[in-house]
């Protein structure tokens, strides 16, 4: 191939190169346009989404106002029916209190909530309603206690016997002391005999209080029976012993 033929080939390559650069330039312009248009469209979609989210949140908040008012009215009515509450003194449903700081829990879905974070922590309306409902329930319907656990049942006669024994010993002491030459001996002796009478059942109130406070349980009729049984056995033994000592 001669030099001029080679020059022709170089010129063809130059033409191809300039064509390639033109195509690349046009493609780049088009791609830039598409990228930026897509970015702008993304911003628009995001703004639309945030607006829709804010709409939903506002609708939910409006619905919550209605719910809270309805629930507050129901609770107020429930309180009105509670024993010992004077209806006239109760008055109408309380007006909404002015609340400057919105509870953080209620603002979690707000678009700008993550940015600020300056609102102090307050309780949500539902928490306040729940607490009020709990108070009213405790007042209107005292709590139903659970029965004693099974493991506590064998202890009841023992406790009943111990308390009855202690009461019996106290009774013996009073009778013995009243027999002496002391002023008011007859009264002291009488108290001793009364203590003898109540000794078998003295364990029942003690066991009931323990079950109530320690185990948050109620002492049912079976538990009372077991406690009485232990108390009666102890009182009998103590009476026999006392009779033998003082025939």
């Amino acid at each position: 191939m001669t030099t001029r033929d080679h020059d022709y080939q170089l010129m063809m390559n130059a033409l191809a190169d300039v064509t390639r650069r033109r195509d690349a330039g046009l493609d780049s312009a088009e791609q830039d346009y598409r990228d930026n248009a897509a970015r702008a469209a993304g911003e628009l979609v995001r703004a639309e989404g945030e607006a829709a989210e804010a709409d939903r949140w506002a609708a939910a908040a409006a619905a919550q106002v209605l719910d809270v008012d309805r629930e507050a009215a129901r609770l107020w009515d429930q309180l009105r029916r509670a024993r010992g509450v004077r209806i006239r003194a109760l008055g109408e449903l309380p007006e909404p209190a002015p609340v400057e700081a919105v509870p953080r829990v209620a603002l979690q879905r707000r678009p700008s909530a993550a940015e600020g974070g300056t609102t102090p922590v307050r309780e949500s309306a539902r928490t306040l309603l729940a607490r009020a409902a709990e108070r009213i329930d405790d007042t209107v319907r005292p709590a139903v206690r659970r029965p004693l656990p099974r493991w506590a049942l064998p202890l009841l006669p023992v406790l009943g016997a111990l308390v009855a024994g202690a009461t019996g010993l106290l009774a013996v002491g009073l009778v013995t002391f009243g027999d002496g030459d002391v002023p008011g001996g007859a009264l002291i002796r009488g108290l001793g005999w009364i203590a003898f009478v109540v000794a078998p059942s003295a364990g029942v109130p003690v066991v009931a209080v323990l079950a109530h406070r320690r185990l948050q349980a109620r002492l049912d009729i079976g538990g009372i029976g077991l406690t009485l049984l232990g108390g009666m056995i102890a009182a009998t033994i103590l009476s026999l012993t006392f009779t033998i000592i003082h025939p």
């Binding site: 010129m11 063809m12 506002a58 409006a62 106002v65 809270v68 405790d138 007042t139």
Partner: protein, 351 residues
């Protein structure tokens, strides 16, 4: 609410503490001091706060909604403006790219046309309707041969490929178009050289020479020989011998046209493949050139590959620019030229 109802006992204690707290501070009047009244006061306070809190949340939500809607309006307006600006920027960029391209392209295309006119003159590049054989230039240098045109903006640049003294040509693609390109190349090569300077050998086992039948008059003058089926091996041996011999030859160029199909290419023996590769490597320097259809030539700088698809083609010399192929030369024009060339050559031989 269920979670707040957890322990009633704890709730009662809590109530008592709260009652003490609220009663001591603001809720319980000196007159009302009972437990029940204190409880009422606490519940009153809690319900009022709950209702107030719900309204505060609603106010905050309404405020947020107002801000979000305002932002949406702003973004919508900005989006329309932004889109217009982007379209403007894209159009400006496109205009600038095209302006630079046209400035460069006009200059390059003009230069390319001038170079093409110098590299392929007369019969080597004239359109078929104006085609006529021409005498080679004084130096006797073979130039490039036209196979089609390249449309470049408003300029049409001749698409040229090398052959004599420069390259072997391998063609692939649609068969009729390829045969037209081969006929055109041969006619331009013959028309731009003196009679007798170029001899053709045609191997066409499928059509028995029918593909290039228009060139048959050259056979009478000994300027064309057809090789029949089974003649590939001896032909290649002879070409290798011609390429390696140092003695004088009657012709200046020997152009061997191999028209095979893929099945024929598979039938080449390893010895024939070796001989063909040897001709590819050494043939151009000795004036032996291959014009091949249906065979793969070994990779070599002297092999010009033309790939044809739908009357368009790409080739090594014109690079990535698509070539619009010329139609094949009219058969009667080829036959007439070959008859006159054969007579002229016979006359010169007699003298």
């Amino acid at each position: 609410m269920a979670d707040a109802r957890g322990g009633r006992e704890a709730g009662s204690d809590d109530t008592n503490r709260l009652i003490d707290h609220w009663g001591g501070n603001r809720l319980i009047s000196p007159v009302v001091g009972s437990h029940r009244n204190a409880l009422v006061a606490v519940v009153r306070q809690e319900l009022a706060e709950a209702r107030g809190t719900a309204r505060a949340v609603l106010a905050a939500a309404e405020s947020a909604r107002g801000r979000a809607q305002q932002r949406r309006r702003l973004v919508r307006d900005a989006y329309a403006v932004c889109l217009n600006q982007l379209i403007g920027a894209r159009d400006a960029a496109r205009t600038e790219v095209l302006r630079r391209f046209r400035a460069e392209a006009a200059q390059l295309a003009g230069t390319a046309v001038a170079l093409a006119d110098r590299s392929a003159t007369g019969a080597a590049s004239a359109p078929w309707r104006m085609w006529a054989p021409t005498e080679p230039d004084a130096g006797g240098h073979a130039g490039l041969l036209r196979v089609g045109t390249i449309a470049f903006e408003s300029v049409t640049v001749p698409a040229l490929v090398p052959l004599l003294d420069a390259a072997h040509v391998q063609l692939d693609g649609e068969r009729t178009a390829v045969d037209g390109v081969i006929a055109g190349l041969l006619l331009r090569a013959l028309g731009s050289t003196r009679p007798g300077d170029l001899r053709l050998t045609v191997y066409d086992p499928e059509a028995f020479g029918g593909t290039l039948a228009a060139f048959a008059p050259l056979e009478n003058a000994g300027l064309l020989s057809f090789v029949g089926p089974g003649g590939m091996g001896p032909m290649l041996d002879e070409l290798v011998e011609t390429a390696t011999s140092t003695g004088p030859r009657p012709e200046r160029w020997r152009v061997v046209v191999l028209l095979a199909d893929p099945a024929g290419a598979a039938e080449l023996t390893s010895a024939q493949r070796t001989q063909l590769d040897r001709i590819v490597r050494t043939g151009v320097a000795c004036g032996v050139h291959l014009v091949v259809r249906g065979l793969d030539l070994a990779p070599h700088p002297t092999v010009e590959r033309i790939t044809v698809h739908d009357r368009a083609a790409t080739c090594h010399t014109t690079g990535a620019l698509p070539v619009r192929l010329d139609p094949g030369p009219p058969a009667e024009r080829v036959a007439e030229f070959c008859r006159s060339t054969a007579e002229r050559y016979a006359h010169e031989v007699k003298q």
